[in-house]
Symmetry: D2
Subunit: 136 residues, 4 copies
Protein backbone atom coordinates (compact mmCIF):
# COMPACT_ATOMS: atom_id res chain seq x y z
CA UNK A 1 0.00 0.00 0.00
CA UNK A 2 1.07 3.56 -0.82
CA UNK A 3 0.12 5.92 1.98
CA UNK A 4 -0.76 9.60 1.52
CA UNK A 5 1.72 12.40 2.08
CA UNK A 6 0.38 14.94 4.59
CA UNK A 7 1.65 18.46 4.92
CA UNK A 8 1.65 20.91 7.82
CA UNK A 9 2.96 24.43 7.90
CA UNK A 10 5.21 25.22 10.85
CA UNK A 11 6.17 28.70 11.99
CA UNK A 12 9.79 29.09 13.09
CA UNK A 13 10.07 30.90 16.44
CA UNK A 14 12.92 33.14 17.58
CA UNK A 15 13.64 30.82 20.51
CA UNK A 16 14.36 28.02 17.98
CA UNK A 17 17.42 29.87 16.69
CA UNK A 18 20.79 28.92 18.14
CA UNK A 19 24.19 30.57 18.27
CA UNK A 20 24.82 29.74 14.59
CA UNK A 21 21.89 32.07 13.73
CA UNK A 22 19.99 29.08 12.36
CA UNK A 23 17.26 26.80 13.61
CA UNK A 24 18.86 24.53 16.22
CA UNK A 25 19.28 21.01 14.84
CA UNK A 26 17.06 19.27 17.40
CA UNK A 27 14.19 21.71 16.77
CA UNK A 28 13.79 20.19 13.30
CA UNK A 29 12.54 17.07 15.08
CA UNK A 30 10.20 19.08 17.28
CA UNK A 31 8.72 20.49 14.07
CA UNK A 32 8.09 16.95 12.82
CA UNK A 33 6.46 16.13 16.16
CA UNK A 34 4.21 19.20 15.90
CA UNK A 35 3.27 18.28 12.32
CA UNK A 36 2.37 14.72 13.29
CA UNK A 37 0.19 15.90 16.18
CA UNK A 38 -1.77 18.10 13.79
CA UNK A 39 -1.98 15.36 11.19
CA UNK A 40 -3.32 12.95 13.82
CA UNK A 41 -6.21 15.37 14.28
CA UNK A 42 -6.72 16.53 10.70
CA UNK A 43 -5.80 13.48 8.65
CA UNK A 44 -6.22 10.39 10.84
CA UNK A 45 -9.09 11.91 12.85
CA UNK A 46 -7.68 10.57 16.10
CA UNK A 47 -5.78 13.01 18.30
CA UNK A 48 -3.04 12.01 20.70
CA UNK A 49 -5.53 12.74 23.49
CA UNK A 50 -7.88 10.13 22.04
CA UNK A 51 -5.03 7.61 21.97
CA UNK A 52 -4.44 8.31 25.65
CA UNK A 53 -8.15 7.87 26.42
CA UNK A 54 -7.95 4.41 24.88
CA UNK A 55 -4.95 3.60 27.04
CA UNK A 56 -2.32 3.95 24.32
CA UNK A 57 0.67 6.17 23.69
CA UNK A 58 3.09 6.58 20.78
CA UNK A 59 6.77 6.84 21.70
CA UNK A 60 9.77 7.38 19.45
CA UNK A 61 11.97 4.29 19.17
CA UNK A 62 14.37 5.52 16.53
CA UNK A 63 15.06 8.65 14.51
CA UNK A 64 17.26 9.33 11.53
CA UNK A 65 17.57 12.85 10.16
CA UNK A 66 19.72 14.23 7.36
CA UNK A 67 20.34 17.96 7.32
CA UNK A 68 20.65 19.51 3.86
CA UNK A 69 20.07 23.22 4.33
CA UNK A 70 20.20 25.50 7.35
CA UNK A 71 16.95 27.27 8.23
CA UNK A 72 16.71 30.96 9.07
CA UNK A 73 14.07 32.63 11.20
CA UNK A 74 12.51 34.23 8.12
CA UNK A 75 12.16 30.93 6.24
CA UNK A 76 8.66 29.59 5.63
CA UNK A 77 8.53 25.83 5.95
CA UNK A 78 6.20 22.88 5.68
CA UNK A 79 6.67 19.42 7.14
CA UNK A 80 5.59 16.55 4.92
CA UNK A 81 5.20 13.09 6.37
CA UNK A 82 4.30 9.72 4.90
CA UNK A 83 3.53 6.52 6.70
CA UNK A 84 5.68 3.75 5.22
CA UNK A 85 4.75 0.79 7.33
CA UNK A 86 2.42 0.03 10.20
CA UNK A 87 2.36 -3.42 11.74
CA UNK A 88 2.58 -5.22 15.08
CA UNK A 89 3.47 -2.46 17.60
CA UNK A 90 5.30 -0.09 15.28
CA UNK A 91 4.83 2.46 12.55
CA UNK A 92 7.52 4.01 10.41
CA UNK A 93 7.05 7.53 9.09
CA UNK A 94 9.22 9.28 6.52
CA UNK A 95 9.45 13.06 6.75
CA UNK A 96 10.69 16.00 4.74
CA UNK A 97 11.12 19.54 6.00
CA UNK A 98 10.66 21.69 2.94
CA UNK A 99 11.14 25.37 2.16
CA UNK A 100 7.69 26.55 1.11
CA UNK A 101 8.72 28.85 -1.70
CA UNK A 102 11.54 26.98 -3.40
CA UNK A 103 10.35 23.48 -2.57
CA UNK A 104 13.90 22.65 -1.53
CA UNK A 105 14.36 20.02 1.15
CA UNK A 106 16.05 21.37 4.29
CA UNK A 107 16.06 17.97 5.99
CA UNK A 108 14.65 14.50 5.57
CA UNK A 109 14.58 11.30 7.53
CA UNK A 110 12.30 8.84 9.25
CA UNK A 111 10.95 8.09 12.69
CA UNK A 112 10.05 4.68 14.06
CA UNK A 113 7.22 4.94 16.56
CA UNK A 114 6.17 2.22 18.99
CA UNK A 115 2.71 2.00 20.47
CA UNK A 116 2.79 1.35 24.17
CA UNK A 117 0.10 0.53 26.66
CA UNK A 118 -0.24 3.31 29.23
CA UNK A 119 -1.02 0.72 31.88
CA UNK A 120 1.96 -1.59 31.38
CA UNK A 121 4.36 0.88 29.79
CA UNK A 122 5.19 -1.87 27.30
CA UNK A 123 4.89 -2.19 23.55
CA UNK A 124 1.48 -3.38 22.50
CA UNK A 125 -0.06 -4.56 19.23
CA UNK A 126 -1.69 -1.72 17.29
CA UNK A 127 -5.45 -2.45 17.17
CA UNK A 128 -6.92 -3.24 13.74
CA UNK A 129 -9.25 -0.21 13.73
CA UNK A 130 -6.28 2.09 14.25
CA UNK A 131 -4.32 0.45 11.45
CA UNK A 132 -7.38 0.99 9.23
CA UNK A 133 -7.64 4.62 10.30
CA UNK A 134 -3.98 5.10 9.37
CA UNK A 135 -4.45 3.41 5.98
CA UNK A 136 -5.13 6.60 4.09
Amino acid sequence: MEYSIFETEIKIRPDDIDSNQHVHNTKFLDYVLAARYEQMINNYKMSMAEFHERGFNWVVSSTTINYKKALKLSDKIVVRTQLVEIAAAQSRVNFWIVLKESGKVAADGFILYTMISLRSGRATRIPEDIIKRYSV
Copy 2:
Protein backbone atom coordinates in the same frame (compact mmCIF):
# COMPACT_ATOMS: atom_id res chain seq x y z
CA MET B 1 0.17 59.02 23.91
CA GLU B 2 -1.95 55.88 23.77
CA TYR B 3 -0.24 53.22 21.65
CA SER B 4 -2.03 50.56 19.60
CA ILE B 5 -2.60 47.04 20.82
CA PHE B 6 -1.23 44.50 18.35
CA GLU B 7 -2.26 40.88 18.22
CA THR B 8 -0.49 37.77 16.97
CA GLU B 9 -1.76 34.21 16.93
CA ILE B 10 0.67 31.67 18.33
CA LYS B 11 0.41 27.91 17.85
CA ILE B 12 1.26 25.84 20.91
CA ARG B 13 3.67 23.00 20.06
CA PRO B 14 3.86 19.59 21.77
CA ASP B 15 7.45 20.29 22.85
CA ASP B 16 6.16 23.30 24.84
CA ILE B 17 4.23 21.00 27.20
CA ASP B 18 5.90 20.03 30.45
CA SER B 19 5.37 17.29 33.00
CA ASN B 20 2.28 19.05 34.39
CA GLN B 21 0.62 18.48 30.97
CA HIS B 22 0.50 22.24 30.44
CA VAL B 23 2.56 24.79 28.55
CA HIS B 24 5.81 25.21 30.47
CA ASN B 25 5.86 28.54 32.30
CA THR B 26 8.91 29.97 30.50
CA LYS B 27 7.41 29.19 27.07
CA PHE B 28 4.78 31.87 27.71
CA LEU B 29 7.61 34.38 27.42
CA ASP B 30 8.90 32.77 24.24
CA TYR B 31 5.41 33.25 22.80
CA VAL B 32 5.60 36.96 23.65
CA LEU B 33 9.01 37.10 21.97
CA ALA B 34 7.63 35.42 18.83
CA ALA B 35 4.67 37.80 18.79
CA ARG B 36 6.92 40.86 19.09
CA TYR B 37 9.16 39.65 16.24
CA GLU B 38 6.12 39.35 13.99
CA GLN B 39 4.75 42.70 15.10
CA MET B 40 8.10 44.34 14.36
CA ILE B 41 7.63 43.20 10.76
CA ASN B 42 3.88 43.66 10.38
CA ASN B 43 3.12 46.65 12.57
CA TYR B 44 6.31 48.68 12.98
CA LYS B 45 7.63 47.75 9.50
CA MET B 46 11.13 47.22 10.85
CA SER B 47 12.23 43.64 11.46
CA MET B 48 14.83 42.62 14.02
CA ALA B 49 17.15 41.95 11.06
CA GLU B 50 16.81 45.61 10.02
CA PHE B 51 17.67 46.71 13.55
CA HIS B 52 20.80 44.57 13.35
CA GLU B 53 21.71 46.08 9.98
CA ARG B 54 21.59 49.51 11.59
CA GLY B 55 23.89 48.30 14.36
CA PHE B 56 21.21 47.98 17.04
CA ASN B 57 19.78 45.17 19.09
CA TRP B 58 16.91 44.92 21.60
CA VAL B 59 17.63 42.99 24.78
CA VAL B 60 15.33 42.17 27.68
CA SER B 61 16.21 44.09 30.85
CA SER B 62 13.29 43.06 33.00
CA THR B 63 10.24 40.84 32.80
CA THR B 64 7.19 40.47 35.01
CA ILE B 65 4.60 37.83 34.24
CA ASN B 66 1.47 36.81 36.13
CA TYR B 67 0.03 33.40 35.37
CA LYS B 68 -3.74 33.18 35.59
CA LYS B 69 -4.72 30.06 33.68
CA ALA B 70 -2.78 26.99 32.60
CA LEU B 71 -2.61 26.41 28.83
CA LYS B 72 -3.22 23.03 27.20
CA LEU B 73 -1.86 21.84 23.87
CA SER B 74 -5.29 22.15 22.29
CA ASP B 75 -5.79 25.77 23.39
CA LYS B 76 -5.83 28.46 20.70
CA ILE B 77 -4.12 31.61 21.87
CA VAL B 78 -3.24 35.11 20.78
CA VAL B 79 -0.58 37.38 22.23
CA ARG B 80 -1.56 41.03 22.56
CA THR B 81 1.08 43.64 23.23
CA GLN B 82 1.00 47.35 23.77
CA LEU B 83 3.88 49.77 23.96
CA VAL B 84 3.53 51.84 27.11
CA GLU B 85 6.63 53.98 27.01
CA ILE B 86 9.59 54.50 24.72
CA ALA B 87 12.31 56.94 25.68
CA ALA B 88 16.08 57.22 26.07
CA ALA B 89 17.37 53.64 25.58
CA GLN B 90 14.31 51.73 26.75
CA SER B 91 10.82 50.68 25.80
CA ARG B 92 8.24 49.09 28.01
CA VAL B 93 5.70 46.72 26.51
CA ASN B 94 2.64 45.29 28.28
CA PHE B 95 1.42 41.91 27.12
CA TRP B 96 -1.56 39.61 27.52
CA ILE B 97 -1.73 35.98 26.47
CA VAL B 98 -5.37 35.41 25.71
CA LEU B 99 -7.50 32.35 24.96
CA LYS B 100 -8.88 33.01 21.50
CA GLU B 101 -12.36 31.64 22.03
CA SER B 102 -13.24 32.75 25.53
CA GLY B 103 -11.16 35.93 25.53
CA LYS B 104 -9.89 34.93 28.99
CA VAL B 105 -6.42 36.07 29.97
CA ALA B 106 -4.03 33.17 30.61
CA ALA B 107 -1.17 35.46 31.59
CA ASP B 108 -0.24 39.12 31.57
CA GLY B 109 2.79 41.20 32.39
CA PHE B 110 5.31 43.55 30.90
CA ILE B 111 8.80 43.50 29.44
CA LEU B 112 11.34 46.28 29.64
CA TYR B 113 13.58 46.26 26.57
CA THR B 114 16.86 48.12 26.23
CA MET B 115 18.33 49.09 22.91
CA ILE B 116 22.02 48.31 22.70
CA SER B 117 24.66 49.17 20.18
CA LEU B 118 25.98 46.00 18.54
CA ARG B 119 29.44 47.58 18.36
CA SER B 120 29.80 48.60 22.00
CA GLY B 121 27.39 46.15 23.57
CA ARG B 122 26.12 49.07 25.64
CA ALA B 123 22.77 50.78 25.99
CA THR B 124 22.26 53.45 23.38
CA ARG B 125 19.69 56.19 22.83
CA ILE B 126 16.84 55.06 20.57
CA PRO B 127 17.01 57.16 17.37
CA GLU B 128 14.15 59.58 16.75
CA ASP B 129 13.05 57.88 13.53
CA ILE B 130 12.60 54.60 15.40
CA ILE B 131 10.62 56.25 18.18
CA LYS B 132 8.38 57.72 15.46
CA ARG B 133 7.99 54.35 13.79
CA TYR B 134 6.93 52.89 17.13
CA SER B 135 4.44 55.71 17.74
CA VAL B 136 1.48 53.88 16.26
Copy 3:
Protein backbone atom coordinates in the same frame (compact mmCIF):
# COMPACT_ATOMS: atom_id res chain seq x y z
CA MET C 1 11.95 34.96 60.31
CA GLU C 2 15.08 35.15 58.17
CA TYR C 3 15.30 32.09 55.91
CA SER C 4 18.53 30.49 54.67
CA ILE C 5 20.04 31.22 51.30
CA PHE C 6 20.61 28.01 49.34
CA GLU C 7 22.98 27.70 46.41
CA THR C 8 23.06 25.34 43.45
CA GLU C 9 25.58 25.20 40.64
CA ILE C 10 24.08 25.05 37.17
CA LYS C 11 25.93 24.08 34.01
CA ILE C 12 25.09 26.14 30.95
CA ARG C 13 24.38 23.94 27.91
CA PRO C 14 25.05 24.82 24.26
CA ASP C 15 21.33 24.49 23.46
CA ASP C 16 20.65 27.31 25.97
CA ILE C 17 22.50 29.81 23.77
CA ASP C 18 20.45 31.92 21.39
CA SER C 19 21.22 33.96 18.30
CA ASN C 20 22.78 36.74 20.41
CA GLN C 21 25.48 34.22 21.45
CA HIS C 22 24.26 34.44 25.04
CA VAL C 23 22.05 32.35 27.28
CA HIS C 24 18.48 32.87 26.08
CA ASN C 25 16.56 35.06 28.52
CA THR C 26 13.91 32.49 29.42
CA LYS C 27 16.55 29.85 30.22
CA PHE C 28 17.57 31.93 33.25
CA LEU C 29 14.20 30.98 34.74
CA ASP C 30 14.70 27.32 33.85
CA TYR C 31 17.96 27.49 35.80
CA VAL C 32 16.08 28.81 38.84
CA LEU C 33 13.58 25.97 38.43
CA ALA C 34 16.40 23.41 38.29
CA ALA C 35 18.03 24.93 41.36
CA ARG C 36 14.79 24.83 43.35
CA TYR C 37 14.18 21.18 42.44
CA GLU C 38 17.62 20.30 43.77
CA GLN C 39 17.13 22.42 46.87
CA MET C 40 13.81 20.71 47.54
CA ILE C 41 15.75 17.46 47.77
CA ASN C 42 18.93 18.67 49.45
CA ASN C 43 17.74 21.48 51.69
CA TYR C 44 14.05 20.92 52.42
CA LYS C 45 14.33 17.11 52.25
CA MET C 46 11.11 16.84 50.28
CA SER C 47 11.37 16.32 46.55
CA MET C 48 8.75 17.44 44.05
CA ALA C 49 7.91 13.73 43.62
CA GLU C 50 7.09 13.55 47.34
CA PHE C 51 4.82 16.57 47.00
CA HIS C 52 3.01 14.79 44.19
CA GLU C 53 2.64 11.65 46.31
CA ARG C 54 0.90 13.72 48.95
CA GLY C 55 -1.44 15.11 46.31
CA PHE C 56 0.19 18.53 46.01
CA ASN C 57 1.92 20.49 43.28
CA TRP C 58 3.72 23.82 43.19
CA VAL C 59 2.92 26.10 40.26
CA VAL C 60 4.35 29.47 39.33
CA SER C 61 1.85 32.31 39.84
CA SER C 62 4.14 35.23 39.14
CA THR C 63 7.73 35.89 38.12
CA THR C 64 9.83 39.02 38.05
CA ILE C 65 13.37 38.90 36.69
CA ASN C 66 15.90 41.68 36.15
CA TYR C 67 18.75 40.99 33.74
CA LYS C 68 22.03 42.64 34.63
CA LYS C 69 24.69 40.78 32.68
CA ALA C 70 24.57 38.49 29.66
CA LEU C 71 25.81 34.93 30.22
CA LYS C 72 28.16 33.12 27.87
CA LEU C 73 28.47 29.37 27.40
CA SER C 74 31.80 29.35 29.22
CA ASP C 75 30.46 31.16 32.31
CA LYS C 76 30.24 29.22 35.55
CA ILE C 77 27.14 30.13 37.51
CA VAL C 78 25.33 29.40 40.73
CA VAL C 79 21.71 30.04 41.53
CA ARG C 80 20.99 31.35 45.02
CA THR C 81 17.47 31.35 46.36
CA GLN C 82 15.89 32.51 49.58
CA LEU C 83 12.39 31.94 50.82
CA VAL C 84 10.90 35.28 51.84
CA GLU C 85 7.41 34.33 52.86
CA ILE C 86 5.33 31.20 53.11
CA ALA C 87 1.71 31.40 54.19
CA ALA C 88 -1.77 30.29 53.18
CA ALA C 89 -1.32 28.73 49.70
CA GLN C 90 1.73 30.68 48.56
CA SER C 91 5.45 31.01 48.97
CA ARG C 92 7.64 33.76 47.65
CA VAL C 93 11.24 33.03 46.75
CA ASN C 94 13.92 35.56 45.86
CA PHE C 95 16.68 34.43 43.51
CA TRP C 96 20.04 35.58 42.25
CA ILE C 97 21.95 34.08 39.32
CA VAL C 98 25.56 34.73 40.15
CA LEU C 99 28.85 34.36 38.27
CA LYS C 100 30.83 31.91 40.34
CA GLU C 101 34.23 33.53 40.00
CA SER C 102 33.49 37.24 40.23
CA GLY C 103 30.43 36.95 42.45
CA LYS C 104 28.68 39.40 40.12
CA VAL C 105 24.92 39.11 39.77
CA ALA C 106 23.80 38.25 36.23
CA ALA C 107 20.11 38.39 37.13
CA ASP C 108 17.87 38.62 40.16
CA GLY C 109 14.17 38.51 40.86
CA PHE C 110 11.51 36.58 42.66
CA ILE C 111 8.94 33.89 42.01
CA LEU C 112 5.59 33.53 43.66
CA TYR C 113 4.57 29.87 43.90
CA THR C 114 1.09 28.58 44.68
CA MET C 115 0.45 25.16 46.12
CA ILE C 116 -2.36 23.38 44.34
CA SER C 117 -4.22 20.20 45.08
CA LEU C 118 -3.63 17.65 42.32
CA ARG C 119 -7.16 16.40 42.75
CA SER C 120 -9.01 19.70 42.43
CA GLY C 121 -6.42 21.66 40.50
CA ARG C 122 -7.11 24.53 42.87
CA ALA C 123 -4.98 26.47 45.34
CA THR C 124 -4.82 24.78 48.71
CA ARG C 125 -3.51 25.76 52.14
CA ILE C 126 0.09 24.66 52.67
CA PRO C 127 0.08 22.06 55.49
CA GLU C 128 1.79 23.06 58.72
CA ASP C 129 4.42 20.30 58.50
CA ILE C 130 5.52 21.59 55.12
CA ILE C 131 5.74 25.18 56.37
CA LYS C 132 7.93 23.85 59.21
CA ARG C 133 10.10 21.93 56.79
CA TYR C 134 10.59 25.12 54.77
CA SER C 135 11.43 27.14 57.89
CA VAL C 136 15.17 26.65 57.58
Copy 4:
Protein backbone atom coordinates in the same frame (compact mmCIF):
# COMPACT_ATOMS: atom_id res chain seq x y z
CA MET D 1 42.75 3.32 14.40
CA GLU D 2 40.66 2.74 17.54
CA TYR D 3 39.71 6.06 19.12
CA SER D 4 39.15 6.65 22.84
CA ILE D 5 35.74 6.64 24.45
CA PHE D 6 35.14 9.86 26.38
CA GLU D 7 32.54 10.28 29.08
CA THR D 8 30.68 13.31 30.38
CA GLU D 9 28.14 13.47 33.15
CA ILE D 10 24.97 15.39 32.28
CA LYS D 11 22.39 16.63 34.77
CA ILE D 12 18.79 16.27 33.68
CA ARG D 13 16.82 19.49 34.21
CA PRO D 14 13.11 19.78 35.01
CA ASP D 15 12.52 21.74 31.80
CA ASP D 16 13.77 18.70 29.83
CA ILE D 17 10.78 16.64 30.96
CA ASP D 18 7.79 16.44 28.63
CA SER D 19 4.15 15.51 29.04
CA ASN D 20 5.05 11.79 29.22
CA GLN D 21 6.93 12.56 32.48
CA HIS D 22 10.18 11.57 30.78
CA VAL D 23 13.08 13.40 29.17
CA HIS D 24 11.79 14.74 25.84
CA ASN D 25 13.23 12.72 22.95
CA THR D 26 15.07 15.61 21.28
CA LYS D 27 16.79 16.58 24.56
CA PHE D 28 18.79 13.36 24.37
CA LEU D 29 20.56 14.91 21.39
CA ASP D 30 21.13 18.17 23.25
CA TYR D 31 22.83 16.10 25.95
CA VAL D 32 25.15 14.62 23.33
CA LEU D 33 25.89 18.13 22.07
CA ALA D 34 26.70 19.31 25.60
CA ALA D 35 28.95 16.30 26.15
CA ARG D 36 30.84 16.91 22.92
CA TYR D 37 31.39 20.59 23.77
CA GLU D 38 32.94 19.58 27.09
CA GLN D 39 35.00 16.85 25.48
CA MET D 40 36.31 19.32 22.90
CA ILE D 41 37.73 21.30 25.82
CA ASN D 42 38.79 18.45 28.11
CA ASN D 43 39.83 15.72 25.71
CA TYR D 44 40.74 17.33 22.38
CA LYS D 45 42.02 20.55 24.01
CA MET D 46 40.33 22.69 21.40
CA SER D 47 37.06 24.34 22.33
CA MET D 48 34.35 25.27 19.86
CA ALA D 49 35.36 28.91 20.44
CA GLU D 50 38.88 28.06 19.22
CA PHE D 51 37.42 26.44 16.11
CA HIS D 52 35.51 29.63 15.44
CA GLU D 53 38.65 31.73 15.92
CA ARG D 54 40.32 29.66 13.23
CA GLY D 55 37.38 30.29 10.90
CA PHE D 56 35.80 26.86 11.27
CA ASN D 57 32.53 25.50 12.55
CA TRP D 58 31.16 21.99 13.06
CA VAL D 59 27.60 21.40 11.90
CA VAL D 60 25.45 18.29 12.16
CA SER D 61 24.86 16.62 8.80
CA SER D 62 23.10 13.50 9.96
CA THR D 63 21.88 11.96 13.21
CA THR D 64 20.60 8.51 14.07
CA ILE D 65 19.37 7.75 17.55
CA ASN D 66 17.81 4.61 19.00
CA TYR D 67 15.82 4.98 22.19
CA LYS D 68 15.98 2.01 24.54
CA LYS D 69 14.87 3.29 27.93
CA ALA D 70 12.94 6.35 29.01
CA LEU D 71 14.79 8.74 31.34
CA LYS D 72 13.28 10.23 34.47
CA LEU D 73 14.25 13.48 36.15
CA SER D 74 15.91 11.59 38.99
CA ASP D 75 18.10 9.46 36.69
CA LYS D 76 21.85 10.06 36.75
CA ILE D 77 23.34 9.76 33.28
CA VAL D 78 26.61 9.93 31.42
CA VAL D 79 27.13 10.47 27.72
CA ARG D 80 29.88 8.38 26.13
CA THR D 81 31.14 9.25 22.69
CA GLN D 82 33.69 7.71 20.40
CA LEU D 83 35.08 9.08 17.19
CA VAL D 84 34.76 6.42 14.47
CA GLU D 85 36.09 8.19 11.44
CA ILE D 86 37.54 11.58 10.60
CA ALA D 87 38.49 12.38 7.03
CA ALA D 88 37.99 15.01 4.33
CA ALA D 89 35.37 17.40 5.77
CA GLN D 90 33.55 14.99 8.06
CA SER D 91 33.76 13.16 11.33
CA ARG D 92 31.49 10.44 12.58
CA VAL D 93 30.92 10.03 16.29
CA ASN D 94 29.11 7.16 18.00
CA PHE D 95 27.35 7.92 21.25
CA TRP D 96 25.72 6.12 24.14
CA ILE D 97 23.57 7.70 26.83
CA VAL D 98 24.05 5.49 29.84
CA LEU D 99 22.42 5.22 33.26
CA LYS D 100 25.24 5.84 35.68
CA GLU D 101 24.30 3.29 38.30
CA SER D 102 23.12 0.32 36.29
CA GLY D 103 25.28 0.93 33.24
CA LYS D 104 22.23 0.33 31.08
CA VAL D 105 22.05 2.12 27.75
CA ALA D 106 19.10 4.53 27.51
CA ALA D 107 19.91 5.47 23.91
CA ASP D 108 22.64 5.05 21.34
CA GLY D 109 23.36 6.30 17.87
CA PHE D 110 25.78 8.33 15.83
CA ILE D 111 26.22 11.83 14.50
CA LEU D 112 27.91 12.83 11.29
CA TYR D 113 29.52 16.25 11.62
CA THR D 114 30.75 18.39 8.74
CA MET D 115 33.39 21.06 9.15
CA ILE D 116 32.44 24.26 7.42
CA SER D 117 34.33 27.43 6.71
CA LEU D 118 32.74 30.36 8.54
CA ARG D 119 33.64 32.61 5.63
CA SER D 120 32.12 30.59 2.81
CA GLY D 121 29.57 28.62 4.78
CA ARG D 122 30.68 25.58 2.81
CA ALA D 123 32.21 22.25 3.75
CA THR D 124 35.95 22.45 4.06
CA ARG D 125 38.74 19.89 4.45
CA ILE D 126 39.64 19.29 8.12
CA PRO D 127 43.23 20.53 8.63
CA GLU D 128 45.85 17.87 9.42
CA ASP D 129 46.66 19.33 12.85
CA ILE D 130 43.02 19.01 13.87
CA ILE D 131 42.84 15.42 12.65
CA LYS D 132 45.94 14.73 14.75
CA ARG D 133 44.42 16.40 17.78
CA TYR D 134 41.33 14.22 17.39
CA SER D 135 43.45 11.05 17.02
CA VAL D 136 43.33 10.16 20.69
